[in-house]
Every structure is written in structure tokens, then in C-alpha cells.
């Protein structure tokens, strides 16, 4: 509450306005000339108080304002004008004439400093004046809605000093503010170019601009700074960085560009802190980002020395810089992500092409060789293919390592980029038709040779790598098929170096792909263990019975559960073969053994049927060859032959044959009933391979024809006591085209089953679904195993409808299960 309606503490003295004002005005001059200590605040305050009480506040307010205006115009402005040279006024560096940049800088500095002093003094004096005139502010200004005298005085400074016109020529004029702006902009440009400027002077002037309203009437927070300076500053910065970006792109490499950009941004931020206003920080940052990064990112990435170059040359820190820059303008890092994906896919495709080329060019030279060589060459080609397959995997792993490294060191382990990398890897790996097979071969190779002499940790690393690749594979069922096949061979032929590692691998797959995936593999291992027990048990059984047969044959049996082992890949691929194998005629000794075991087995497990897979087995035969005379007299020529079971059967045939006689191919076949292609292969291994030619073939050629004749090679010689007769099919090789088609066909069949099973499962659960929903649900359910073809799913659904497992509801699009009794769900 104001009490100015009373006479106040005036004690009835009459106040003469004019004389009081005279005193005040004189005091104000003292204040402006820094002589305030001579004055009594109380007296001045009381005089102003009295004037206001006398309702002369209005008059006082105006007098003070005009006093300030006069003071500013006459003293301050005149002083500042004196400092301005024509060049500074024109603000155009082209017109500097003889002036050097340094002189210009110095002149600008002087002006800035003077302006700063003037402003600071004005502020100080005005704050003193305001204090003295506090009562006026409090009573008069509040009641009459006038801005406080302080604000008015500040506005006066703006109008009388900053906005005063300086005539440069007849028609032209600039404002003091314009001059100021030009000087500051020019100095900033100099600083950007490396000169050192007086930051404090500029900062003070900027501070002044910030403190002043743009207009008297403006209600908003618009300051003189943003309207008169910031816009221009941003605009010139735009131009500056645009030009700089162009030059830099043209003249330096991507790494330098990144470093420079980073430096520029830091500089600008620093400048905003030390020289300009914090409120500009985000704006100028955006300008630099726009001009140097956002608009240039693509060019930068595509440069000769861009991302591709950096990846190729392992310029990790440069990549990191690019990443930082891109992350700055785009949280998703779109540009960089795209570029990296492109590079990954390109490099991946190169590996794919190399892999494909290796597998296609190699078979070509094979037919040119002849005779025995051909055999080794064919095997060699297969080997080369396997090597190519493994090389493919290794290349992919190397690429993966490389990008992992880049990702963790340069890309700050960024989540989005990891996803992108994963997607790119998956893309090119899945684009390669043989990836599943190759990865399985890679594991196979490692299981057989690679892990020899490695520490547990190293093995771990290898397994982890294999799993990593496996993760990318979409058609996991394909891999499953190959892996089981390769695993089977390893297990049955004892090629695996360590069962522990095998089991580790399977448990890793279990973690990665789930229980279902490894179920069969685990039961394969179980079969192996059971078989060992069984063999031991049988041996004991035989010993107990005290079988007197001196020519006893040891039996090492592997009992395989027919559902879990992928036997179709083991040469028993068609029905006719199946029949043939059943009828294989074993030599009497073996037949007895077989019967014995079958009896033993059926005693233990009744109701199980054993099928003998001779094509999978091997046998050790101790063979005695006729003595031949040699320099050191006669030597007993005993060799231990390790041959396939079929090989053993064939060789035993010749055991009973009188020396010198021979059997032709058909004889051999009719006596053994071995399937034709198996027989050919067996005979090739024992009669054609140069080192294991136990039989002599008539005529000598590399192919086995039905008309060929075979006889025991009495002059067989070998340096070794133990001879391993290599079977042609023993190793895990890359498939031929025909085999591949076979595998794919098989795989598609099992996929069909899987899809149908999934569809039925979904329908049982959901009761009613539209066709489209069903398809998409099926897709998600099967995603972990493989990526099903939509057409395939639709076909399966059709087929299920045909077989009346499913039904359209009222002929509409929705489906419901009808199902055989087990699946039947009564519809209401």
C-alpha cells in the first residue's frame, strides 16, 4: 500500500519542484562523473520522495529520462564516434585500402572496449540513480504502469547510442549497432582463420546486446542480441562452413575431414561459451553439423578415402570419428549404417563368389587325366571342394572378426549398428546356397583335424565362431541335416578327435537353437555309449560261453536307432538299395557271428529288429600272402588290412578260391549280393588303388565293368604291416550337384511335415483363424528352424483342407480344425 495521498513525512514543508530538480540534476552529474561519495543518499532519496508525494512523479520521470538522453548523446556517443574510422563504419574489408588486418583488428578492439566501458558505466550509474529514485519507481511507475526508470534508461542507451545513425556519405548511413555487428562478425571470422582476438571485449558487448530488449513494446523475451546479431551470425556461419566443407572435401581425405569437423564443432562450442552467448550454442552447433556433416555425410562416406577405404585399411580411429559425426546428427546413424551394410554385403558377396568359383572351376581338369591318377584326382577334387568350403567359412569368420573389431573400437559398440551388421551378414550368408553345408563341413574339419593340439580355450573359440555363423543361417533345418550326416560319419568311423568337444558343440547348439534341434544328436551320442556297453557285454557273453572257435572274429557293434540317424545319406538312399542290403550274403564265419549277436541282442531287448548296415562298417583282416623269394631269403608276409565290411566280404571270397583262379564281377555280385555301386566302389578300393591292390583286375583300367575278372594278387607288396584300404566315400566331402538336389528334396519333404505339424498345432490351440493369420503364425513358429516359403505354407494348408484336417468356416476365409479324432474339436 502506498501512502502518497498523505502529506507523508514531509512535515508540511512546501517543496519547490524546480529548485529540487536542480539539486537532483546536479547530483546526477556528480554520479555520472563518479563522485557519488560526496552525496548523501538520504537527502537525494528524500527529495525524490517529496517530489513524488507532491504528485510531480510524472514530471520527475520525464526530466530524468531527458537528462539521460542528453548525457548519452552528448558525452558517450561523441566519444564512440571519435573511435570509428571510415573502414570500420563501412564494415567492408575490401575497402580497407592500406589498412592491414592487424590494424583493423586493433581498431575494432578499441571500439569494442570503449563501448563496453560506456555500457558498464551506464549500467552502474543507472543502478545508482534507480536506487535514489526508488520511491518514484515504487509509487509512480507502478501506479501509472510505466517501465522502471532503469529499463527506460537502458532503452535510451539502445536508441541514443546503438541505433544512432552514422552518416557515411550523402545518402548512406549505418547504425552504431550495425558497425558493432560487423566488427564482431569480422573478428570471429579472423578467429576461425586462426587469429587471436579479444574475446572478453566481444563477450561484454554480446552481454550488452543480450541485456537489451529489441523493442520497447515487445512483450516476449526477444532481445536485441537475437534480432540484431544472432541471425546474421548464423547466416555468415552457414556460408563460411558451406565453403569450408566444399574445400575440405575437395582437398583432404575423409579422416582429416572428420578430425577437422570435430575440431570446428569444439571450437564453435568453446566460442559460444567464451565469446558469444550460451543461447547460441545449440544453433551454431546445428549450423556446423548441417554444413559439415548432414549435408556432406554421403559425400564423405562415398569418398575415395571414405568408409570403404577405412575398413580396408583398418583405420579404426577414423571410422570412430565418422561414427561420432554421424551419431551427432542422426541417432540412428542411417548413412553410416547403410554404407557399412553395403560394404559388408559387397565383401560377403566377394567371398561367396570366390567360394562358388572354387567349387565350379575345380572339377574341370579332372577328365583330362587318366588311369590311376584319375582316382586320386577325383578324390583330390572332392578334397579341394572341401577345402574351398572351409576356406569360405574361414573367410566369413575373418570378415566377421574384422567388423566385430571395427564395431567395438570404432562404433562404440552401438546397438543399431550391431543389428545392421548382423542383418548384412545374415543376408550374404543366406544368399550363398551352400552356407549350411559349408559351416557343417567346417565344424567337421575342426573335429577331425583342427582341434588337435589345441588348448581348451582355443577350441572354445573355434566352437564359438561356428555357433556365431550358425546364428546367421536362416534355414537351420538344412544345417541340421548336414550336421547330423557329418556327425554320423565321424562317430561311426571314429574320426572324431574328442567326444567331449563333440558333446560341447551339441550343447552349445542346444543353447543357441533350443532343445528340439539337438534332440536327435544327443540320442546319437547315447546310442554310441549304449553300443560300447553292448559290445563289452557281448564279448563277456561270448567268453562266458567259452566259444571254442579259434578263428573267432571280434565284433565291435554300433546299434543305431533308425529314427535318429540320417542313414539315407550313408549310401542307403533308395528303396532298391534297402532290399539289396537285406540280402547281403555274409561269409559263414561272419554270418555265425551275426546270428550270435542277434540272439544276444534279442535276449536283452525283445521286440527290436536289427538291420545290418554293412556299408557303414569296417573290418580288420589279418591276411597271409604267399611267400616270395627275396634277397634275404623268404619272409613271412603278413599284413593287417583295414577294409570296409563289404571289402572284407569280397576279400573273404577269394580266401576260399584256389590260387590262380578268378571271379568275374557278376560272380562276386551274385555271391555277395552287395549293391552294384557299393560293389564297384569296394572293388575299386581293393583292386585299382595302386597302394592297396590286393586283387588283380583283368583288364587293368580305372573303371570296374561287369565283365571284369578279379583274382588274388599273390605278388602284393607293401612296406607296412598295417594297411588301411581307403574307401572312396569315407570322408565328409562337399556334395555333388545330384546329391545336393537329393538333400534339398529331402529337406523340402521334412519341411512340409514341419509346416503341417505347425499348422495343426496352431489350429488346435486357436480353434479359429483367418487364412492370413494362420500363415503369419506359422511363419513365426517356424522361424527358429528355417524360413518357410509362403507358397509352401499355402500349399500345405490346401492339402490339409483336402485331407479334411481343416475346414473353411461357412465358406469364408476363416479356418477351423476338423481333424482326425485326435484333433477333432466340436464346433458349437
Amino acid at each position: 500500500m502506498a501512502l502518497h495521498n498523505f502529506q507523508g513525512l514531509n512535515n508540511g514543508d512546501e517543496v519547490d519542484f524546480e529548485s529540487t530538480w536542480e539539486t537532483l540534476a546536479a547530483s546526477f552529474t556528480q554520479i555520472h562523473t563518479k563522485n557519488a561519495s560526496l552525496l548523501s543518499f538520504e537527502q537525494l532519496y528524500r527529495q525524490a520522495y517529496k517530489i513524488v508525494l507532491k504528485k510531480k512523479g510524472d514530471e520527475l520521470y520525464k526530466r530524468v529520462a531527458s537528462f539521460e538522453q542528453d548525457w548519452l548523446t552528448e558525452k558517450i556517443l561523441a566519444k564512440l564516434k571519435g573511435l570509428l574510422s571510415n573502414a570500420l563504419i563501412s564494415g567492408n574489408s575490401a575497402e580497407t585500402g592500406g589498412q592491414t588486418a592487424n590494424e583493423r583488428l586493433a581498431a575494432g578492439d578499441r571500439f569494442l572496449r570503449e563501448l563496453k566501458t560506456a555500457w558498464e558505466e551506464h549500467q552502474l550509474c543507472m543502478s545508482m540513480l534507480t536506487d535514489v529514485l526508488m520511491y518514484m519507481d515504487r509509487v509512480y511507475c507502478t501506479d501509472h504502469r510505466q517501465p522502471s526508470i532503469y529499463n527506460t534508461a537502458m532503452a535510451l542507451f539502445r536508441d541514443c547510442v546503438l541505433l544512432s545513425r552514422i552518416t557515411t556519405s550523402e545518402e548512406q548511413w549505418v547504425t552504431m549497432l550495425g558497425v558493432l555487428r560487423n566488427i564482431i562478425l569480422e573478428q570471429i571470422k579472423m578467429e576461425r582463420d586462426g587469429d587471436i582476438i579479444d574475446k572478453h571485449a566481444i563477450k561484454a558487448c554480446i552481454y550488452m546486446l543480450e541485456g537489451l530488449e529489441a523493442k520497447d513494446t515487445s512483450n516476449g523475451p526477444e532481445k536485441l542480441y537475437s534480432s540484431a546479431f544472432e541471425e546474421d551470425f548464423i547466416r555468415t556461419s552457414h556460408d563460411f562452413y558451406k565453403a569450408e566443407g566444399e574445400t575440405l572435401l575437395r582437398e583432404s581425405d575423409a579422416g582429416t575431414y572428420c578430425r577437422h569437423t570435430k575440431k570446428r564443432i569444439d571450437e564453435e562450442l568453446d566460442r559460444c561459451r567464451s565469446t558469444l552467448s550460451d543461447s547460441t550454442t545449440s544453433k551454431i552447433e546445428r549450423v556446423v553439423e548441417d554444413e559439415l556433416i548432414r549435408n556432406r555425410m554421403n559425400d564423405l562416406i562415398e569418398m575415395d578415402s571414405g568408409v570403404k577405404h577405412m575398413v580396408d585399411n583398418e583405420r579404426l580411429s577414423d571410422l570412430g570419428l565418422i561414427f561420432d559425426l554421424n551419431a551427432r546428427v542422426d541417432s540412428k546413424k542411417t548413412d553410416l549404417t547403410k554404407a557399412v551394410q553395403r560394404i559388408v554385403v559387397a565383401m560377403g558377396t566377394a567371398i561367396n563368389n570366390a567360394g562358388a568359383a572354387a567349387s565350379q572351376t575345380q572339377p574341370a581338369p579332372a577328365p583330362e587325366t587318366d588311369g590311376d591318377k584319375a582316382k586320386t584326382t577325383v578324390a583330390g577334387v572332392a578334397n579341394l571342394l572341401t577345402v574351398a568350403a572351409i576356406k569360405w567359412v574361414e573367410d566369413v569368420l575373418e570378415l566377421k572378426d574384422k567388423f566385430d573389431n571395427v564395431w567395438s573400437t570404432s562404433f562404440r559398440s552401438d546397438q543399431a549398428l550391431q543389428t545392421a551388421l548382423t542383418r548384412s551378414f545374415a543376408e550374404f550368408i543366406n544368399a550363398f546356397a551352400r552356407s549350411s553345408e559349408n559351416i557343417s563341413l567346417f565344424i567337421d574339419d575342426n573335429m577331425k583335424k583342427g582341434i588337435k593340439g589345441k588348448t581348451e580355450y582355443e577350441i572354445d573359440v573355434v566352437l564359438e565362431k561356428a555357433i556365431t555363423l550358425l546364428r546367421y543361417i536362416q534355414d537351420k533345418d538344412m544345417f541340421d541335416r548336414y550336421y547330423k550326416r557329418h556327425l554320423t560319419k565321424r562317430l561311426l568311423m571314429g574320426k572324431s578327435l574328442s567326444t567331449d568337444v563333440e558333446k560341447q558343440m551339441v550343447s552349445r547348439m542346444k543353447i543357441e537353437l533350443g532343445n528340439n534341434f539337438t534332440l536327435k544328436m544327443e540320442s546319437m551320442f547315447k546310442d554310441m555309449t549304449l553300443s560300447e556297453e553292448l559290445t563289452a557285454g557281448y564279448k563277456e557273453h561270448v567268453t562266458k560261453r567259452g566259444d571254442p572257435d579259434p578263428r573267432r572274429v571280434d565284433l565291435d557293434i554300433k546299434v543305431l536307432t533308425s529314427m535318429t540317424w540320417p542313414l539315407e545319406g550313408m549310401g542307403a538312399s533308395s528303396e532298391s538299395d534297402e532290399d539289396a542290403r537285406m540280402k547281403t550274403i555274409y561269409p559263414p564265419a561272419i554270418e555265425r557271428l551275426k546270428m550270435g549277436f542277434e540272439k544276444y541282442y534279442s535276449e536283452k531287448h525283445s521286440g527290436r529288429k536289427l538291420t545290418w548296415l554293412a556299408n557303414m562298417g569296417t573290418a580288420d583282416i589279418r591276411a597271409t600272402f604267399p611267400k616270395v623269394p627275396s634277397k634275404n631269403g623268404t619272409i613271412v608276409r603278413k599284413h593287417e588290412l583295414n577294409v570296409s565290411t563289404y571289402g572284407m566280404i569280397v576279400l573273404l571270397l577269394f580266401n576260399d578260391l584256389p590260387s590262380g583262379e578268378s571271379l568275374n564281377f557278376e560272380d562276386v555280385q551274385s555271391r555277395t549280393n552287395i549293391p552294384t555301386n557299393e560293389l564297384i566302389r569296394t572293388l575299386q578300393s581293393v583292386a585299382v588303388s595302386p597302394k592297396t591292390r590286393i586283387l588283380v583286375k583283368e583288364p587293368m583300367s580305372k573303371d570296374v565293368k561287369p565283365t571284369d575278372r578279379f583274382s588274388f594278387n599273390e605278388s602284393f607288396e607293401s612296406k607296412f604291416a598295417k594297411i588301411k584300404v581307403l574307401s572312396i566315400t569315407s570322408g565328409n566331402k562337399v556334395e555333388g550337384d545330384r546329391e545336393r538336389k537329393e538333400t534339398e528334396k529331402k529337406n523340402n519333404e521334412s519341411r512340409n511335415h514341419n509346416i503341417e505339424a505347425a499348422v495343426v498345432r496352431i489350429m488346435k490351440q486357436r480353434k479359429e483363424l483367418s487364412h492370413q493369420q494362420l500363415v503369419s503364425e506359422t511363419l513365426t513358429q517356424l522361424a527358429s528352424q528355417f524360413k518357410p516359403d509362403v507358397v509352401m505354407i499355402k500349399k500345405r494348408i490346401e492339402s490339409l483342407i483336402e485331407r479334411e484336417y481343416l475346414d473353411h468356416i461357412d465358406g469364408g476365409d476363416s479356418l477351423r480344425p476338423l481333424g482326425p479324432p485326435a484333433v477333432r474339436i466340436e464346433s458349437p
Partner: protein, 100 residues
């Protein structure tokens, strides 16, 4: 410049001097500005304020109020201050003048 002391002297028009804490005195906006060393008026130099239009009785009450205000700063349930009715008007005017 004279040093800034913890206590300042307030003088009434009839010559009574009150030595009060600076912090309390500065509760009155006018006194605060009067003593502001930045402005550097003679009052700030001498740490003394002479009020030509306030009597000793009133100024005493003002000082009492300033201490009272200082004491109960940031508190609720403040007891009323005892003000004799005959001083009311003069006190009000002093308060307006000093911008308490």
C-alpha cells in the same frame, strides 16, 4: 572506500542514534540501497544513515521491527508485535518511506 562493518548507525531527526546489525537494517529496502557499497554514497562511506524526517520514537519502533523481522524470519505462528495506537500513523509513513 570505508570498510563494510557488521553494525550500522541509524540517526533520527531528533538526534537519537541506533546501532543495529547491518543484516537487520538491510531488511528495509531504502536503507539497504543507501548503504550499498557499490553505489558508494556518503552513507556507505560512513556506515551511518541520518533520517531527517523520522523521530527517535518512531525510529526505535522501526529498529524493533527490523529485529523482530529478523528473529522470526521463515517462521509460522509469529506473535503479534506490540504497537501503541498513537504511533500507528507515523510508523506506517516511515515504513512506506523506508520500503520495509
Amino acid at each position: 572506500m570505508a570498510e563494510t562493518t557488521d553494525y550500522v548507525t541509524l540517526i533520527s531527526n531528533d538526534g537519537f542514534e541506533f546501532v543495529v546489525q547491518r543484516s537487520s537494517a538491510c531488511i528495509a529496502e531504502a536503507i539497504k540501497r543507501m548503504l550499498d557499497p557499490r553505489n558508494n554514497f556518503s552513507e556507505a562511506q560512513t556506515n551511518t544513515c541520518k533520517f531527517e524526517n523520522i523521530s527517535g520514537v518512531v525510529l526505535e519502533k522501526v529498529c524493533e521491527y527490523l529485529y523482530y523481522h529478523e528473529k522470526f524470519r521463515d517462521q509460522k505462528d509469529v506473535p503479534d508485535m506490540d504497537i501503541p495506537p498513537e504511533l500507528c500513523l507515523e510508523l506506517l509513513m516511515a515504513a512506506d518511506y523506508l520500503n520495509v
